[in-house]
Amino acid sequence: MAGRIIGALRRLNELGTQYYNAPYRAAIARAKRDEEDLFMLLVFSEMMGIPNPAAWSTLELQPLLMDRFHDWHTRMGMERSPLDHFRCC
């Protein structure tokens, strides 16, 4: 009985999530794809030695990215930031 109720609630939650996402699924997926495209472009251009035109502008993003960067290096097993010129903690 309890299993059935939990199953029904799970299904309800699943339908609710779908209902929440259905109208905007496309817009969000597209925004995410655009973000990834831009990232890809920057990574590839850096790799090919083309100076990153957004480097100066991305400086503004530093405060926003700080937390994510910190999460990343701790997740990677590095207690401190591996970049000499970028100390986050």
């Binding site: 609630l9 339908l15 999530t17 259905a22 699924r25």
Partner: protein
């Protein structure tokens, strides 16, 4: 007469329409095929094309098409008495809207889920597509300008609603963050969001907010309209997950709760309909019922806007072709039931006929105020709710609907400007910010240009919104009819509504043309002429396309 009779007759009629008529249309006319590979499967990309559960898709479709229009239109139209509005909402939903909405889905699904605009270009011709672009721009312009005025009026008439209406934005922002960052499950967030919204509705009347009569020479109405457009511009520029998505979601939940409460209150309280069955003593200046009834009630019966949603997003997510009946036709029934609630609130929520007449003093008066005041009385009588809280609840319901439609409308208008920037190679116009600014400016020009200093121009053009919107529905019906004729199937079920709509729209436009000329209102006269020319062109396109379709041998599909 008891409102319960009206409620049961209306809902019963629509249920019968769904059970019998929609089955006939789906099986015999559209011949919906469960084995047809829908575009959602054929082009599945996880972005636009995603097969979706039909209940979920119904929810998406219904809440996307439900704006303030199914409330505003019927609440104005009861000025001719409750019977004409009731008949048109019930029969219009069954024989017009349901067929139109499910037909738009079918037509789009059978054509690689193309939008009705693209379909018009392919099925009817390029001239029709050009008219379509103009009509759609006008509809969006009018929707945004009208809804700005409608919300401003609601906030002025009910200062208790200011806190919940603006507070709902904060609730949506928090919900968006919680869901996006997956801090808590959707179920708990939804319940917490609805509780927060209803708490605001309870708090609202205790902290009423009213703008001063004059701020820098602007009336309260003008100030609210400017604030609303500033908000809508920001909302339409923000990423959708941040505000629009959670706002639409709690709005949808609120709609279901609101409808259940209102219908429950009618069944428990059994209010009496005090408005006349047919009002022979209409206020001076009220236009004739025929044809204005059929353009005043737009979304409550048939609406072109539904075709845009059906062929825009719903058709790309349809899992099985047979689901078109449930999603499209039952979506129209949802809209009809909202219109029915508006009729009952605006006719049975008054103590006496004199009270009702005191509200309906002129055409266009009453409207949402009648819905809010009448509905509040019904909620108070049936559920024992405090009148102030009930009025706030209904005001918030209407204002949130108008608000979310405005957000989406402004975003869509921005896309049109950006598209024009692309077509005419004006790079600056393809950027979101200038395109949004132009959209806002065009709406404000309409609001203040036609309405003067208090910015009420949107409401003056409401009947023009009706005609433009019905033209859009006509174009969609034309596409469906031509597809049916080409397949050698009976076309009378869409051709009949198409002819009726075109005749009513043309009649209404001509009548309005005369009245604008008499009032020497050159702005509205110009706008009326634009719509009239579009209507005439649509009629000619209809005749030419149908003649050609009938002359061609039918394909056997």
């Amino acid at each position: 007469m008891s409102a319960i009779v009206l409620l049961l007759l209306g809902l019963g009629g629509m249920a019968a329409g769904y059970l019998f008529y929609s089955r006939f249309i789906a099986n015999r006319i559209f011949k919906l095929d469960p084995d047809f590979r829908t575009p959602a499967h054929e082009f599945e990309d996880g972005v636009d094309f995603v097969p979706t559960n039909r209940y979920v898709l119904w929810g998406h479709h219904f809440t996307s098409v439900a704006g303030a229009a199914p409330i505003v239109g019927p609440a104005i139209a009861v000025i001719w008495g409750w019977l004409p509005a009731f008949i048109w909402v019930v029969l219009g939903t069954i024989f017009f809207a349901g067929v139109h909405d499910s037909g738009a889905l079918w037509a789009s699904v059978r054509n690689r889920a193309k939008s009705v605009g693209a379909l018009t270009g392919e099925v009817v011709g390029h001239r029709a597509r050009t008219i379509f672009m103009i009509v759609i721009f006008l509809v969006l312009l009018m929707v945004n300008a009208v809804f700005g005025v409608v919300i401003a009026k609601l906030l002025i008439n009910n200062p208790g609603a200011v806190v919940p209406v603006w507070g709902a934005i904060a609730v949506a922002l928090v919900i968006g963050q919680l869901i996006y960052r997956r801090v808590i499950g959707l179920g708990i967030v939804s319940i917490a969001g609805v509780i927060a919204l209803y708490s605001l509705i309870y708090i609202g009347p205790q902290v009423p907010v009213a703008l001063p009569d004059q701020v820098m020479g602007l009336s309260a109405s003008a100030s609210w309209i400017l604030l609303l457009f500033a908000y809508a511009a920001i909302a339409s520029l923000l990423p959708v997950w941040m505000l629009l998505q959670p706002r639409d979601y709690i709005n949808g939940l609120q709609l279901f709760v609101g409808l259940i409460l209102l219908y429950g209150a009618v069944l428990i309280g059994n209010p009496m309909v005090v408005a006349p069955m047919i009002n022979v003593d209409v206020p001076p200046g009220t236009p004739s019922l025929l044809p204005l009834l059929f353009v005043t009630i737009a979304c409550g019966a048939i609406s072109g806007f539904h075709g845009l949603v059906a062929s825009g997003t719903s058709s790309k997510q349809l899992d099985k072709e047979t689901d078109a009946r449930f999603v499209g036709y039952f979506g129209a029934i949802g809209e009809g039931s909202l219109a029915l609630a508006a009729i009952i609130a605006a006719t049975a929520g008054f103590a006496t006929l004199a009270d009702w007449q005191a509200v309906y003093t002129a055409f266009g008066k009453g409207s949402l105020t009648a819905f809010v005041d009448g509905g509040a009385a019904i909620l108070a009588g049936g559920l024992g709710m405090e009148v102030g809280v009930a009025a706030t609840l209904l005001t918030v319901m209407a204002a949130l609907f108008a608000g979310t439609t405005m957000d989406t409308g402004l975003r869509l208008q921005r896309y049109i400007f950006q598209e024009w920037g692309d077509i005419y190679q004006q790079k600056w116009l393809t950027r979101p910010l200038p395109a949004t600014l132009l959209s806002v400016i065009s709406c404000l020009l309409l609001a203040f240009g036609a309405g003067g200093a208090d910015g009420s121009g949107g409401l003056l053009i409401w009947p023009l919104f009706g005609t433009t919107n019905q033209l859009l529905a006509g174009l969609t019906l034309l596409v469906i009819t031509i597809m049916l004729v080409r397949r050698g199937r009976p076309a009378i079920y869409t051709l009949g509504p198409l002819a009726f709509l075109l005749i009513m729209t043309l009649m209404a436009l001509l009548l309005q043309l005369k009245s604008f000329y008499d009032k020497q209102d050159w702005f509205l006269l110009g706008l009326d002429i634009v719509v009239l020319v579009a209507a005439l062109l649509v009629t000619l396109e209809c005749a030419a396309a149908l003649k050609k379709a009938f002359a061609e041998p039918a394909e056997q599909t």
